[in-house]
Amino acid sequence: MRAIHFLLLSPVLGLATIFLAGPALYVLWLSLTVSNYGMNAQFVGLQNYVTVLQDPGFWTAVVNTLIIVNVVVYVELILALGISLVVQRQSGLMRVLLFSAILVPYGISDVVGVMAWRFMSDPNFGILARGLASIGIDFNWTINPTLALILVTIISVWHHLPFTFVLVFAALVSVPKDMVEAAEVDGAGPFQRFWYIIFPFIVPAVLLAMLFRYVFGLRLFTEVWLLTNGGPMGMTEVLGTYLYKNAFRFGDFGAASATGWMMVVITLLLASPYLVKMYKGTFRDV
């Protein structure tokens, strides 16, 4: 690479450094300090990391986050794939209507969506909770952390399904029809056509959707914050709410920054298999 290449790339590299690396490094520095509102940061080494790792609340948040994210990512993928196959078979107005209906949740603001679900599932008067109660299911998520986490998962899937759907659907319609038809002529059944022809084509899109959803999912915040505030007894805490409370409720920016960096590490660990797979897939033939 010649100097002119670096020169031409330098504006982009400069912007990336200022807007991405800069804040990240500042948060890294904060994570090594004790810092409260109005207090000048004092260097304490890795003390914040030790404190956070020794806090049972942090581990509750890690476990809850990992459970929710894994369920959300795979449920979303299965639903997106199924719905995409259904929509692909439609044509004309029906296809447009279905496509629009599926995209609607993505156009609704997080807060409005969560509040609507909260009212629908209110154990006293919510249509959902009362419907379940009429068939003998007590869905009081306000006193049962497991039910609260299930509700958080349902809302998260509902809200983000359109994102996964769009990626998977786009990949699905780009599968060459002649190959599918050739397989059909050769006697391949629907499952064989999907597994041996269609699926290998859409794998990169599926991996991309998984990667993005893992990254977004680990930042889960609104659903938990507006539904349970992390309670009762901190049992529904996730990493996003744990970080927020430390930073903006307790004013402990050091612990919050340490949590932020640990979230980055967890995200990279979770995403690395997919990143490696995508990298190999992309550059295999280069």
């Binding site: 509102y37 209110d122 154990p123 008067f125 306000t142 309670g231 009762p232 307790f250 004013g251």
Partner: protein, 424 residues
Amino acid sequence: MKRTVSRLLLAVALGASMLTPVLAQQFTVMGHRVHQLAATGTAETAKGGDVTEEWRKQHGDINWMVGGHGEIYDRLLREAAMPKSAISVGILLGRAGYPEFFENLEPLNDYQAKDPITNFGDISQGMIDGMTYDGRLYAIPMRQATSSLIYNEALLKEAGIDAPPATFAEMVELAKKLSHKDANGNDVNGLTFMFSSDPLHPLNIIFGFGKQLIESDYTLNADTPEVLNGLKALKDLYDSGGVSKNILASTLDTMIADLQAGRAVMAIDVPGRLGVLNDPKMSAYAGSFKSVPLPVNPNGVSPTQTEVWYMVIPKNAPDKDLAWSLIKTLSEPEATIRMALNSNGAVRVSAYQDPRVIEAVATAAVQAETVPMAKLAIPGLRNGERVSEVITTQIGAMLLGKFTPEQVVENFKKELTPLLPAKP
């Protein structure tokens, strides 16, 4: 190119040099938007006019910097670390006031002695105590939100009860008695309050049995029969259906919705909430809601708690005399009345006896009774939010059966003691 860059730099330098004196000359007040609206009377419903008008004619415009409590607190403290603050008057919540924080504020005793606020004794002593440390007064109350008992008169009469309870213990028993299922099969609870993120109202119930969990001098009363009785009453209310099983997730919105729909009969909340509860467009029981001071505790005292916003002068403020003159202007009896007409929670009892306020503010009589006796729910603490979290979590665990009231007392002692400062 070189010439263009030089000109650009020169222009920036000139612009900055012209702007700096302007910024330096501004008299800046940092507070919440509601303070600006109350002082300037710019809200649509305001009837008190601009209380700062005369002051501004004499001293020049006020630069209002508004934000949430956290932002105000953060900014004030960051500026405190600088040689000179750009903020002349800060307005912040009482929970921000704690001994280390007071070191950044100007003591106001001398200003009050030299140029006194008229009829200072009219302001609630509990509010003054909340910002007095080691004999020095650091802040002047400006706005309050004080708890009361709100009840649905129609539902009380339906149950054959003519008057709200006279004592706190009676209130708890009544809440249990009033709980039932209505004709549609909906649960109706005797009492409701906010709980999901703030322990203010559960603390109010504890106070209802004789003692605050944390006194204004940071005394922790966890290990007292009064606090234990308060915790037992909360557990009893929860187990007997006196409060909803969903109380742990109760927010302001759900509390209002429950009252408006008749799913709750009584509530611990500010009297100002009557407006929305009695609104015929939103409430199934419009006109039925009334407010009275909280019933008395075993000591014969109404366990009224409050959240108060205070005016302070940073120690490194640029013009402290001018800052005091504005604080004094906003604290005078007539200014308090006019700000009450601008929807401010007045900190002077006399404001609620003014005919203009009585006409405009439906709960004036109740507030006249509650404001003088109000105490801060939690005194100012550096770890105030952590203290709140501990209290909320422990009481929540008790309600769900994870801990007994006795265990919660022990946990309070263990977890709250390190968070409280040594008593002065």
